[in-house]
């Protein structure tokens, strides 16, 4: 405990004016793009990645984390104002926030969302600062077998990212792993799938793949089926009265935030599940005199928003301490760190303690600043929702192209980006998830290096060697469970359907 308090006290020393400015820009950008249906924090973080190439590691994380936090909250504002969640995470918020707006309580609903998000974010920041270093300390004792097993665990949770079909999630994850093998073999230096191209010798890079799979494919999806601007969006403003909820409903804030952090730590589950789970947990505690859940209950708004914002800090814990990105946006953040030459994982706590502390600091400050900034931007969101879609799509295309080109100054990067844009579009049309590709690609080099090192250390007796590594065995049992879980889930729901129809 004294270490934790000391760590908290020393965080402010790591933050300069530049980092404060970047976290503010990130939050503001995140809130606005999070409010735009079809854009969301993922696209925002991806668009910002090329800019971070020119920054120091802490500033780059300040910008990206700001967008992540702001974007996770921004969706709630469009859910309240126009009844359309800007992000999937805000779908549970919509259930009560929009009915509140229809009853003339839009400002109160938007303010409750802001308070809930800030509360969840700060709670998750404190848990992150307390737990991540402890987990990293344990992980420092891991050898290649444990690291490979944890990476495998991260990969098997990809099934959870594929709604309805874990097989497709795993297939796409393996596709990401395969993409990471293109280039020179890391052990022998043999060329793999390069066709004699010097460009491919160094392997594919993350940015063109990311921007293509998420940015360009999203543009193509929206060009095919345009989303209308919300000309009828009515105005909202901050409501001071909503602050009374902190005294009237403190348990809901705490319970929902803790739920969000816990779900965030578990790889592959994410904000949507967290917000609905937290919403469900809040239902039995409806206050006397409040409307029913789904009809404008303030506790529904708080539960959903506190939980989905708390996921952000929880999701950073396995990424920073174990190098497991359990969430697609966190995988992008991990890519942003790797672009700076820093590989997340336990070694980062030893080799770059300043960066780790800097990330903690910007995360905590970002979560706290969400409250004042969110209240300011409640008004601005209506203007953003009125922007015509074509101007947003043109801006996304421009930033994608220029940002990708500016990093390497290679036209082939643009070609790869456009190719992955087309691949992402086709996969999404066929209902295949693209997020696992990114996680597989990011985890690929870590998994390959440690998997092959384990084989070399075992000197041919792979199973015998694993038997001497209890942590690896425990993680591998976790892998088996993660593989089996979706099938058990499918069987249970099928049985339930059968018994209902009977």
């Amino acid at each position: 405990m004294p270490d934790f308090i000391e760590a908290l006290g020393s965080l402010y020393q790591l933050i300069g004016v530049a980092q404060l400015v970047f976290v503010t820009i990130g939050l503001a950008t995140g809130i606005l793009i999070g409010a735009l249906p079809g854009v969301g924090p993922m696209l925002g973080v991806i668009m910002a990645i090329p800019f971070t190439y020119y920054m120091d590691p802490i500033s780059s994380m300040a910008l990206l984390i700001g967008i992540y936090q702001g974007g996770s909250f921004g969706g709630a504002l469009s859910a309240t104002v126009v009844g359309m969640p800007g992000t999937p995470m805000a779908a549970a918020t919509l259930l009560d926030a929009h009915p509140m707006a229809l009853r003339g309580r839009a400002s109160e609903a938007a303010t409750l969302s802001t308070i809930g998000s800030a509360f969840g974010g700060v709670t998750s920041a404190l848990v992150l600062i307390a737990i991540a270093p402890l987990l990293a300390q344990i992980a420092l004792k891991f050898g290649p077998a444990e690291t490979a097993a944890f990476a495998l665990l991260g990969l098997t949770t990809l099934g959870a990212l594929s709604s309805g079909s874990p097989l497709k999630g795993w297939m796409m994850g393996l596709f990401g792993l395969f993409l990471a093998t293109i280039g020179l073999d890391p052990v022998t230096g043999v060329s793999r799938y390069t066709f004699g191209s010097v460009y491919l010798d160094s392997g594919l890079t993350l940015i063109p793949i990311l921007v293509g799979l998420f940015g360009i494919s999203e543009v193509l999806m929206q060009v095919e089926r345009p989303i209308r601007a919300h000309d009828h969006a009515s105005g909202v403003a901050a409501s001071i009265a909503a602050f009374r909820s902190l005294i009237a409903r403190p348990i809901n804030y705490v319970r929902s935030s803790v739920t969000g952090v816990f779900v965030g730590i578990l790889p592959g589950i994410g904000g949507v599940t967290a917000s609905f789970l937290s919403y469900r947990l809040a239902m039995p505690f409806r206050k006397h005199g409040d409307p029913n859940f789904g009809e404008g209950n303030p506790d529904g708004v708080i539960a959903s928003e506190a939980a989905n914002s708390a996921v952000t800090g929880g999701a950073l814990i396995p990424m920073l301490a174990l190098s497991i990105p359990g969430d697609p946006i966190v995988a992008v953040l991990m890519g942003g760190l790797m672009l700076q030459g820093i590989t997340p994982g336990p070694r980062m706590f030893l080799d770059h303690p300043d960066v780790v502390q800097g990330i903690f600091a910007v995360f905590l400050i970002g979560a706290a600043m969400l409250l004042p900034l969110g209240l300011v931007f409640i008004r601005g969101v209506v203007g953003v929702l009125r922007l015509p879609q074509w101007s947003i799509l043109a801006a996304v295309v421009m930033i994608s192209l220029v940002g990708t080109y500016a990093i390497s100054r290679q036209i082939l990067d643009l070609v790869v980006m456009i190719l992955f844009g087309a691949i992402g579009y086709l996969l999404r049309k066929a209902d295949y998830p693209v997020a696992p590709i990114v996680i597989g690609f990011v985890l690929g080099p870590i998994f390959e290096a440690n998997y092959r090192r384990t084989w070399l250390i075992s000197q041919g007796d792979f199973l015998g060697y694993l038997a001497t590594r209890p942590i690896t065995l425990v993680v591998l049992v976790g892998v088996m469970l993660a593989l089996a879980f979706p099938f058990f889930q499918g069987l249970t729901s099928r049985r339930r359907t059968t018994s209902k129809s009977a």
Partner: protein
């Protein structure tokens, strides 16, 4: 439609995995020695491609519901066709941009692309699309040139000399 597309995609992925396995077998091992079959330059990607192939075949073979072709109304089919045509045109515009970016330069290549994207994604008047596109392209140029100290392709105009 989705179940059908899902199965077609699975078959395409399976075919690509087979091509990948063939390419894996062609990886040159003449400069390496004493490699374990599961960990060498061929073994590891071979395992991954094998996994993709198996999963793709399972997805392609599992039962699904397939709506009859022609069940959609002619209006819906026209909308789909129009949407796909726009997607094709956007992709073509992006490829053209990639080809023209360095020879023509940023100033000449970017605004026409943005106008094309704007018109294909629902802009009603080309004048407003052109105005917004030129403004956005200029702001982006200034942000990269002065904010990030990055020179974008000058092309035939040699714009960086002016800036």
């Amino acid at each position: 439609m989705t179940a059908r597309a899902e199965r077609i995609a699975a078959l395409v992925i399976a075919a690509l995995a087979l091509v990948g396995l063939y390419l894996t077998s062609r990886i040159d091992l003449s400069l390496t020695s004493n490699l374990n079959v599961l960990t060498g330059p061929r073994g590891y990607p071979g395992l991954i491609l094998g996994g993709i192939l198996i999963l793709a075949l399972i997805v392609a073979a599992r039962p699904g519901s397939f709506p009859a072709i022609g069940s959609a109304s002619s209006e819906t089919i026209d909308q789909h066709r129009g949407g796909r045509l726009r997607v094709g045109l956007v992709l073509a515009a992006l490829v053209l941009f990639a080809l023209a970016f360095e020879p023509l330069g940023y100033i000449l290549a970017m605004p026409p692309l943005l106008v094309a994207i704007a018109m294909l994604s629902g802009a009603q008047r080309w004048q407003s699309a052109a105005l917004v596109s030129v403004l956005m392209a200029l702001i982006c140029l200034l942000a990269f040139r002065f904010g990030l100290d990055t020179v974008l392709p000058e092309g035939v105009l040699g714009i960086d000399l002016i800036l």
